[in-house]
Symmetry: C2
């Protein structure tokens, strides 16, 4: 890695109070009372948060455009942008129910602050620098995560987009148009040569950095989930009247499978194997009824695609055997099986070296959670910078109180002048 | 058992069409479209069903009175009722969601038809004969089964009644008053010498009679449920970010417990041991979240009180161990633990002998489900007559189509002149 000292002629000055105040203001655009945040894509809290974001971006004199699903691009025009591809940073601002104020938002407002501090120090890039706010990284409304980054990286076929529907029966297409994003879906995809690099700043959502008192994580790869919807069905019956020997209880099939899901991860080769049964419901759900159905949703992740797929196969085989043994019917649908991604090695090295030069401790690590970077990495050289969060809390409101932002990252990001390439 | 032939001087003639037509009419007093029935206590469908029932009882020239919770008593006055205690038959008409038309209703309308046919044959009893319709045998609304029979048998303390509340926050006391039952709760309890015998006619809710082509079941004892509400709590987390080794997943604790509940019943000494996890819910129930809580409801039954209690103790011990091993918090509340009941031996013999004399096949059997008879048995000599139902179906709407009523039972009930004693 080469990082000549001459790329630091300026001393950009981060305005910490400004970023913290913006983080807190954005947290008030929420359906819930602080510290709990909920900001679901295209709802009024999402739209008002976007309006606020556009205002502070405009105040920084950046040009704004939006795409067909509401991905927002803030453009800092470079001095010779026609000669080289742009670089970009960014993340998301949508928030699942009862989450906190940093997930995603930090990467958007942190990127903005880095740009602003460079501008205020008098710097002008040669390339264009983009700040991206991706639409609906969270799967809350349409059941699929990273909606915006999937769309612009051509990882979400148009036919599939037209099928997405929320729990009220509103389609994605209706919802995006009602929110004012009315262009043709075919205009969504970014050309392959749009960016020479993309880097996303994000809280770690785990506690390895915090426990080791490390300032910065240089992400080397991003684990990806495979998700499955499983339903076992039996004939039910009266909890008092139906003898044990005559039962075909889908709830117990589900219980067995949940434990097999855990085992598949515990037996995994890599210590990045995780597998979760996040949803488990029985119907009719009455104390005196043997269940008629059990509905489970599974999430299986690994940084190695092959091992991830082996875990999923093993779980599916277990489900089949359990269903046979218990005489219940099985439906097993893989709803999502994205491939993991490697970060660009050059960018990982630049992040590490820049941390070193800035006097920040760092470690190389894997992102267990997935991010818009997973999809950006399909098309563009991509990296991620993690900052610690206390207790590894990410999707919970108490991170407002408990999280520690090592705000140094923002200084780093500016010092690096977006660390991924010479701008 | 003595059953002199001279007690059959009359040949009461059952009007099958009348009973079947009344069963079908009562099934239309429902919140659901036939064949599904739902008739929740004190709702408009329950109240309109009561009005219909009162009309046909009045047409049979029986006097009606109701108690503080709406238990209904239809009285056929005997010729020398002051000299001997009354006898009674009856069951319930409330129905859980998506249930069928026979559960409970058969015992009410069948008892009415037996009385009518005896009256129409010119018979007059010496004792009073009561037909009882018990309020809320099903636990649907207030979470406790056999509400009416518990109240009148003094098995439900008044303090407890005042605490009962439905899922909308309406108390039992408010609901009963709104339904027109406004007397003081203290008037609810029947004097100990009210009945010399009580017998309940009911569908078997299992398929042993049907499979063995037996007309009549003479119930010898009634299993009773113990029910428990269980909650495991952990700290949750992101399904991708939280390593397996750091998890304290209450959903998996619940899965283990559900399997232990099954084992406790399978290992039971008697083949009447049953144990069920009828409710299983995880919160927040999102595919990418490690659950923070798992809520289970358990139902454990046996005809032997001691063995039933041993099962419950074993399950509670398992829950404690699972919670310790997984580092999750446990709340384990026994919400209900009624003792099983034996039927009165004399009544069991009379049912058996009367079946024999009527040319009906019969067998002695245990009631796995519980009934208002469980509580009537605490105060009065009690018996039950089971009739077959196809496939053992009881709490499901398809019994409307699939059940076979061996309508002979009604003839039997009349032939026996209420089989439990000489009236
Ligand atoms: Mn998130
Ligand atoms: Mn995020
Ligand atoms: Mn029932
Ligand atoms: Mn019943």
């Amino acid at each position: 890695a080469h990082h000549p000292a001459t790329t630091h002629p300026l001393a950009p000055k981060i305005n910490l109070e400004r970023v913290l105040s913006e983080l807190k203001t954005l947290a008030t655009h929420s359906d819930l009372t602080p510290p709990a945040v909920q900001r679901v894509v295209y709802t009024s809290s999402d739209l008002s948060a976007r309006t606020y974001l556009q205002r502070i971006i405009s105040e920084a004199n950046l040009a704004i455009h939006e795409d067909v699903v509401g991905n927002l691009f803030a453009v800092w025009r470079g001095s010779s942008s026609s000669q080289s591809r742009a670089v970009a940073t960014g993340s998301h601002i949508d928030a699942i129910p009862h989450s906190g104020m940093y997930d995603g938002v930090l990467g958007v407002l942190g990127g903005l602050e880095a740009i602003r501090s460079l501008k205020e120090a008098g710097f002008t890039p040669s390339r264009d620098v983009h700040l991206i706010m991706f639409t609906s990284e969270e799967p809350t409304r349409f059941g699929i995560g990273c909606l915006g980054s999937r769309v612009l990286s051509a990882e979400l076929p148009h036919e599939y987009m037209y099928k997405l529907v929320d729990s009220n029966g509103t389609t994605l297409d209706e919802a995006r148009k009602a929110a004012g994003f009315t262009k043709e879906l075919s205009e969504a995809i970014l050309p392959d040569d749009t960016y020479s690099a993309f880097v996303e700043l994000h809280i770690e959502q785990a506690d390895s950095l915090e426990r080791s008192s490390t300032h910065i994580g240089a992400v080397t790869s991003i684990a990806a989930p495979a998700q499955a919807a499983v339903r076992f069905s039996g004939s039910g019956g009266h909890a008092g009247a139906l003898p044990m020997a005559e039962r075909h209880d889908p709830g117990l099939a589900g219980a067995e499978l949940a434990l097999e899901v855990e085992k598949a991860a515990l037996d995994g080769q890599s210590n990045y194997s995780v597998a979760t049964t996040g949803r488990f419901e029985v119907f009719p759900g009455a104390v005196n009824s043997v269940p008629r159905t059990a509905t489970l949703e599974l999430d299986v992740r690994n940084v190695e695609l092959e091992e991830r797929n082996e875990m999923l196969t093993r779980i599916r085989d277990s489900a089949t055997k359990i269903a046979e043994r218990r005489g219940v019917r099985l439906e097993f649908n893989v709803t999502n099986a994205d491939a993991p991604a490697d970060c660009n090695k050059h960018i990982v090295e630049m992040v590490a070296q820049a941390a070193q030069e800035s006097g920040l401790s760092y470690s190389r690590l894997v992102s267990r959670a997935y991010h818009d970077s997973l999809f950006m990495a399909r098309k563009f050289p991509t990296g991620m910078i993690f900052v610690p969060c206390r207790g590894g809390v990410s999707h919970r409101p108490d991170d407002l109180e408990r999280i520690v932002i090592r705000i140094t990252f923002i200084r780093s990001l500016a010092n690096f002048r977006l660390p991924f390439c010479h701008i």
